[in-house]
């Protein structure tokens, strides 16, 4: 095929030999292949629909049964039926071909059907190739270090199967695995060069399956219903990582604002998307505010998210990514499900004076009406306070002094009157209960206020040369903001109920929660145990930190590696060139070519050097020097051995063996010098020790 093509261009191939007969694949090899496909099918359960998984598993078990009975494939009609069923399954479950999950399911079914149908060696090779592809496509769902370790070892085993199939000599599984490890180990440096220097161009391939719309189940919702957020307390998935330019601020200052929710309806809060006009107006105003020395600069590496709102530290001043809005939240223009990096600058205080004038009516509007009991309470608040500021303080103190308690599993609230039920009855809640209740009370007291959702705190991971903060979904938090003296103030009612949540972070709280000490009298002691870990728990947390650090570097250098990072790498390597694509291409081909030529040169089979044997032999001769037996220049090894044997008759056997081995290598036929002969000589000489015979 290729030969004919080349001949058209006037290139003729050297005469090809005739095709060797294909051989049957070994049964043990096929069983190994079967084990790999089994793994792939089982892993598939994690990603795609379980019904597809079960179907693939059934096909796979059918083939396994055939293999064990030493048969190859079922007849064509059965194959056709199975193929039609799998197509129907995919269309029925995914409604078509589009989408990553559909693609993966298709691949899994393809590999199991192809495996079932395989008869000859080439079919099994194709199965291996589909498996390679399947392994690679699992990265679309998971790019963690663990996954790449799994995938690379999977690749290793596929390669080992291919090794066995291309060499008909039957061998144990271990030897090919070793050989394929050698191959993959040699391939890795080459792959790393290609990875770092291959220019990352942007492109779009319309024919490929499009990205699935991931339901944003782990992020923050655009609305806040009391009781919803508490569930995320147990979601320890990573939300984002932060590196600060300076010191990491104290935990109680780390309020990560994501969404501002100014609209209330029945104890639930919602975001309001700004229109373009207000955005533009706001941007002009904000750009006037310059940076102040006390501002905090940081870089955020955000995990995959489809959320439009980006978390920034309160109160954001400059945002690299997204549009800042008047309520200090930052909106993304384009949403794609990938990791991303951005920088920001923030200060702990809101800007003063605040621009554009706030809509007081909107920020005090409530759908819920206060009940008579609540009105009495509100009147009580009004009596106690002279100014708005005192009013805020009074309500805050009310939450602190009354027996409210903090819980990760708050009880459900009365549907008809959730606010009363919470404030007068259950008095147990998660941060969003307190934020909601506080804000709605503020509004009823005619103080403009709103709920802010985001994250609070984070875990500091430090290593020798860098420190960063990990913020998880479990750090999700909600708090209130009140408008006093023409600027926004943050009020976190949760701090009144559970100060340790704010001071030490969610981790400490979770630890207490798990040991069942939350809310008990031992809380102080338990907290100090957490903060000053001893022995085992310290080791454990150190290990966790190391792991976090490793995966941070991994994400920075592999998962988020893009053209910008490439340019950075180039400048670190000292290539200050404007045309970085050109430099990258040259580096890639240069590096890979050089490495390949090096491999080629290094791996070329070489004849054994005879002189190596002499080196060993001279060491042997030198051992006799101590005992004053020296080899004369004209003496042959045989003659020397005879003299040595005379001096040490008890060693004569060893001396003889070494001398003969040496002579065989040095003067024997060239074909009779495989490596192990050298090793034999080397080991014999190493083991040889001159011990004086005991005198009797």
């Amino acid at each position: 095929m290729i030969g004919r093509l080349l001949r058209k261009f006037g290139i003729s191939l050297p005469p090809l030999p005739s095709t060797p007969p294909t051989h049957e694949a070994e049964r043990s090899t096929l069983l190994q292949l079967a084990a790999l496909i089994g793994c792939a099918v089982l892993l598939h359960f994690q990603i795609a629909d379980y019904r597809i998984g079960f179907f693939a598993l059934a096909i796979y078990l059918l083939k396994l049964g055939l293999l064990i009975r030493n048969r190859q494939a079922p007849n064509r009609i059965a194959m056709m039926l199975l193929t039609i069923v799998s197509l129907v399954l995919i269309i029925a479950l995914y409604g078509g071909w589009n989408g990553q999950r559909a693609g993966i399911s298709f691949l899994v079914l393809l590999v199991s059907l192809k495996f079932l149908e395989s008869r000859g060696l080439r079919d099994y090779f194709v199965v291996c190739l589909i498996l390679y592809f399947l392994a690679a496509s699992s990265f679309l769902f998971n790019s963690s270090i663990l996954n790449i370790v799994i995938v690379v070892s999977f690749t290793l085993m596929i390669t080992s199967v291919m090794f066995q199939m291309s060499d008909p000599t039957p061998r144990q599984w271990l030897e090919p695995l070793k050989a394929s490890t050698g191959l993959v180990a040699k391939a890795l440096p080459l792959a790393i060069i290609l990875f770092f220097f291959f220019p990352r161009i942007q492109g779009s391939f319309g024919f490929l399956p499009s990205q699935d719309q991931l339901n944003n189940d782990k992020g923050l919702a655009d609305s806040l219903v009391a009781g919803d957020m508490a569930q995320s307390a147990f979601n320890t998935a990573l939300a984002f990582r932060v590196t600060f330019d300076g010191k990491i601020p104290a935990n109680q200052n780390l309020y990560w604002r994501a969404k501002v929710m100014p609209t209330e309806s029945l104890f639930a809060w919602e975001v309001v998307e700004p229109d373009l006009r207000t955005l533009n107006q706001f941007r002009q105003n904000r750009s006037k505010a310059g940076e102040v020395p006390g501002d905090i600069s940081y870089a955020i590496l955000h995990e995959k998210s489809t959320d439009k709102y980006l978390p920034y530290l309160d109160y954001v001043k400059t945002a690299e990514r997204g549009l800042m809005t008047y309520d200090y939240s930052v909106l993304r223009k384009l949403v794609d499900n990938s990791r991303f990096k951005y920088r920001g600058t923030s200060s702990f205080e809101s800007l003063s004076p605040e621009q554009p004038a706030i809509d007081k009516e909107q920020l005090t509007a409530t759908v819920s009406r206060p009940s008579p009991k609540m009105q009495a309470l509100l009147a009580q608040f009004r009596e106690q306070a002279q100014s708005e500021r005192e009013l805020v303080d009074t309500v805050f103190r009310y939450f602190a002094n009354e027996p409210f308690s903090y819980s990760l599993i708050p009880p459900g609230l009365n549907e008809f009157d959730p606010i009363d039920d919470f404030i007068f009855n259950t008095r147990t809640g998660y941060c969003e209960h307190y934020a909601s209740a506080f804000t709605i009370i503020m509004r009823w007291l005619r103080i403009p206020s709103r709920v802010v959702a985001g994250y609070q705190g984070g875990k500091v991971i430090s290593s020798a040369n860098n420190a960063f903060l990990e913020v998880r979904y479990s750090d999700a938090h909600a708090w209130s903001e009140v408008w006093l003296d023409d600027r926004w103030y943050r009020v976190d009612p949760t701090a009144a109920i559970s100060p340790e949540r704010i001071e030490f972070g969610m981790d400490a709280l979770m630890e207490l929660w798990e040991s069942g000490e939350l809310g008990s009298n031992d809380i102080g002691r338990a907290l100090s145990n957490y903060l000053n870990p001893t022995g085992m728990s310290r080791l454990l947390s150190q290990m966790q930190d190391t792991w976090s650090n490793l995966s941070y570097q991994w994400n920075k250098w592999v998962v988020n590696y893009d053209f910008k990072a490439q340019q950075e790498l180039l400048s670190q390597l000292g290539f200050e060139n404007k045309n970085s694509i050109y430099t990258l291409v040259i580096l890639m081909f240069g590096g890979a070519g050089f490495l390949l030529i090096f491999y080629f040169w290094r791996l070329i089979p070489r004849a054994v050097k005879r002189s190596e044997a002499q080196t060993y032999y001279l060491k042997f001769v030198a051992k006799f020097n101590k005992h004053d037996i020296r080899k004369h220049t004209a003496e042959s090894p045989g003659e020397f051995a005879a003299r040595a044997q005379q001096a040490f008759p008890h060693l004569s056997k060893d001396i003889n063996a070494i001398t003969q081995q040496y002579q065989k290598i040095r003067y024997g036929r060239s074909s009779e010098e495989p490596d192990d002969q050298y090793d034999k000589l080397k080991n014999a000489i190493k083991a040889f020790k001159i011990i004086k015979a005991e005198q009797h």
Partner: protein
């Protein structure tokens, strides 16, 4: 050339069909990596590319440096397979896995351990009498993972195999002395006598019954007794005595059969051909000389005709 060492210029390499599929998979993976901007998929892509490239180096180095040496081959009768002994030597410290030795339609898989050589008997079918030269020999391998295959330049062995005519028994064996009466006079050897002539060391071809066994026991050397005339009869095997309806090949086959018969029975025989007569004698040398005349009968020159090139070969598949 009787020895052929596979050097860099003698070795070619191309992807196999599986290799092209592999490339296809890589292209698809590239598309996915770019489309989803997934760096791990890029990593995997490059690992697979690198595995392919390193496999190419492996495949190439699996065959380079192997030497092929052709050994002389023994004559066979037409219809029997011709055997060409070839020795493959691996003078390096590397094991060569799964190297195919290909010669025309003959395929043999070999694995060469470091420093060892292996001899392979290439079996080729015989279709006509005369000299048969070995088809060009190639080595080929797709060793590590079967995505690349390499093959060598053709090595044409100088060794030839002589193919004797196929022995056929169409006409009964000629009677003793049918023709020899007049020819016997010229021979110095008396008919019917078997006089002791002395002892000589054993040579292949001597009859078993001539071996002097007692001296084997004494000296541990094979000694055979020599007679003036080993045979009590002699026979003239003549082209002209064959019936005229036989064609040339049948005549040669018949003569061939007679020679075998005569040699087996320990007769002295002469071969009479239209342009050539081999005098009365017996023994292996004589036997082969006669058969060689038959094998090469009708060829204008003593050199073998150049064999036609083997038909073009298809591309090997996985």
């Amino acid at each position: 050339m009787s020895e052929f060492v596979v050097g860099r210029r003698e070795l070619y390499i191309l992807p196999t069909r599986v290799g092209w599929y592999y490339a296809l998979i890589l292209i698809a993976l590239f598309g996915i990596a770019v489309k989803f901007d997934n760096q791990s998929a890029f990593m995997m892509l490059f690992i697979l590319i690198a595995v392919g490239l390193v496999a190419m180096v492996y495949t190439h180095n699996n065959v380079i440096g192997v030497s092929i040496k052709a050994q002389p081959s023994n004559a066979v009768f037409l219809g029997e397979p011709a055997l060409f002994p070839i020795s493959l030597a691996n003078a390096s410290r590397k094991q060569r896995h799964a190297v195919w030795l290909i010669c025309g339609g003959f395929h043999r898989l070999t694995s060469l351990i470091p420093g060892e050589s292996e001899s392979v008997q290439i079996k080729l079918p015989t279709v006509q009498r005369g000299y048969l030269s070995c088809d060009p020999i190639n080595l080929s391998s797709q060793f590590p993972i079967g995505v690349f295959f390499c093959w060598t330049k053709r090595f044409t062995s100088e060794q030839r195999c002589l193919v004797y005519p196929q022995p056929l028994n169409l006409v009964p064996f000629p009677e003793d002395g049918s023709h020899e009466g007049r020819l016997q006079a010229s021979s110095q050897v008396r008919v019917g006598a078997e006089d002791y002539a002395g002892m000589k060391s054993y040579q292949p071809g001597d009859r078993l019954r001539d071996i002097h066994w007692p001296s084997l026991a004494k000296t541990h050397k094979l000694v055979s007794v020599q007679y003036e005339n080993q045979s009590n009869s002699s026979v003239n095997l003549s082209w002209f005595s064959l019936p005229s309806h036989l064609n040339i090949e049948d005549r040669l086959s018949q003569l061939c059969f007679w020679i075998m018969e005569a040699e087996q029975n320990g007769l002295r025989y002469q071969l009479e051909m239209p342009n050539h007569t081999i005098e009365f004698d017996s023994g292996r040398t004589h036997y082969h000389e006669c058969l060689k005349v038959l094998a090469l009968w009708g060829e204008p020159v003593k050199e073998p005709q150049p064999r036609k090139e083997p038909q073009p070969k298809k591309e090997p598949l996985s």
